[in-house]
Amino acid sequence: MNPILAAEHLGRVLPGEVPVTLVQDVTLEIGSGEFVAIMGPSGSGKSSLLYLLGLLDTPTSGRVWLEGRDTSGFGEDELAATRLAKLGFVFQFHFLLAEFTVLDNVLLPMRRLSARPEDEARQRAADLLQQFGLGDQSHKRPHQLSGGQRQRIAIARALANDPLVVLADEPTGNLDSRAAANVRQILHDLTRDLGKTVVAVTHDPTFASVADRRVGIVDGRIDPDWQV
């Protein structure tokens, strides 16, 4: 297996009077096209691990490899540029920009990267929304849509720049069971149909069951014995 994303003895300690260890000594390899579920009890450090893997946070020890490149020497600008071009994020809360239309929200990352001409970017955004069954909603504002629809827009936005890896933090945590099933299916299809790599933090056992691999995290460490 050729890992696209790898963690090597990864650790993160929050400094302070009483330092808090969020993640310690995590070594993990994620292959291209894999659907990995990171699971664990609340406060186990699984979200912190996802932020480290997504280059949102910088580890206090160890390193993250993306496409075989060591990211530990990256400056803030290079990290941002890497996130923009190669990673996509979906959070528990959709975090859509309320003043922008659905289409403009999906266009944001493409406009920032400006690798595509405007009309091509618009076409791509429209196609993505169509693909997730939101083709007729593209000129609405996020607040006019349901929670499930918003989360699908967030996924479309994460996919806008055609990333290598989609990182999802409790993507179904705020959804009812039908919407959750829909989002789960979409993420699953990403790996199967589009060959994307998906890393999702979840404590939804149904969600975990469709993943190719489950990684249990307890107290910031990988726990091979962890079961739902």
Binding site: S47, S48, Y51, G54, L56, D57, E76, D77, A80, A81, T82, R83, L84, A85, L87, F89, F91, Q92, F93, F95, L97, A98, E99, F100, D104, L108, P109, R111, R112, L113, R157, N161, D169, E170
Partner: protein, 414 residues
Amino acid sequence: MSVQFAIAVTHLVSRKRPTLVSLAGIALGVAFFLAVSSLMRGSERDFIKRLVDNSPHLTVYDEYRNPQPQPATLRWPDGAVELRRVKPLREVRGIRGHAQKLAFIESLPGLRAAPVLVGSVVLTFAGRSEGVTLSGIVPAKMKGVSTIEDKMTQGSLNALAVNPNGLIIGEGLAKKFGASMGAVINTVSPAGEPRALKVVGIFRTGNANYDDTQTFALLKRVQGLLDRPDRVNRFILQFDDPYAAREAASLIEARIGYKAVSWQEASEDLMSVLLVRNLIMYSVVSAILVVAAFGIYNTLSTIVMEKVHDIAILKSMGFHARDIRRIFLAEGVLLGLVGSSLGLGLGLGLMALLAQVEIKPPGATELIHLPIYWGYDQYLLALGFALISAVGAAVLPARKAARVQPVTILRGMG
């Protein structure tokens, strides 16, 4: 339109009330800035106009700013011998080669010049004698540099031009002598021959000293009276733009060597008073804009607080810290630009309104309009101050926004 700019515009447009309040602050600040500035500068110009219209804009004297070195000093600059009581060569005083020098001055654009020979004479009429200042003038040229023609109550400068023995006196002197038009006044100078001159004009400027002691005759006649043939000792200059006088003075002095004094130099004390007055005025009106800037700061800080999740998602999406900073700086620039454009319109309206106002000062007989200055420099100054305040107000919120760490916000949510 860049995506950062689009976000900036959206932030402002979606928060109409705070945006409008910020805009109103800047607009009112700029409008008051302009109204006060135009009034103060207008009154300053009005004051200066009165000051300069009654005296020459620039006078070239037959003197040097620094005394000419003695020949012995030139010959032996390091010599230890000092020669005292060295008498200069006997020479008729005046501007040497005045014709060429005047021709040079007249070749400069935007000014008119007149040669004058000023001397002291004693006038005798009907048993009374008065020492007065006699200026020898060329009437045609004098009209271009002096308002004396407008102050004539009887006769004119033209009458002097056609009468080589003519004399123009002030009303005060005419009263002292009991002389009227056509009176023949005996004129004596310490050097030349006495001559009888006939009054062909009487003026009244309102300045008592001037009306008592100033007289005019033809240049040729005065040169004869004072025994200074073909000499003049002053050039009097008038400019289309009085403010060009200072620069012209240094140019003329550098070129012809004689001392050239502009009206600004002659009334330096007043000019510094006006400068201080302007400084005070601009500090006060700029303070209005600084206060308005707090409105912008307040609006932008609120936006940063409200939009912290948007900032977090933009940064996690891959927006750089400087992209975020630019968004909020752009909001400051936008508020500043739109606010000051509105203020410019409002200010022009106020100025037009002020220009209509008529007041009657105590003791005056006529209504006067408030003097309004319309110069473009104050618009630039107002725009500059407004933009600097607006951008300055945006710096702190922009920096705060750029420092938002997405992980901190995301952890707070989870």
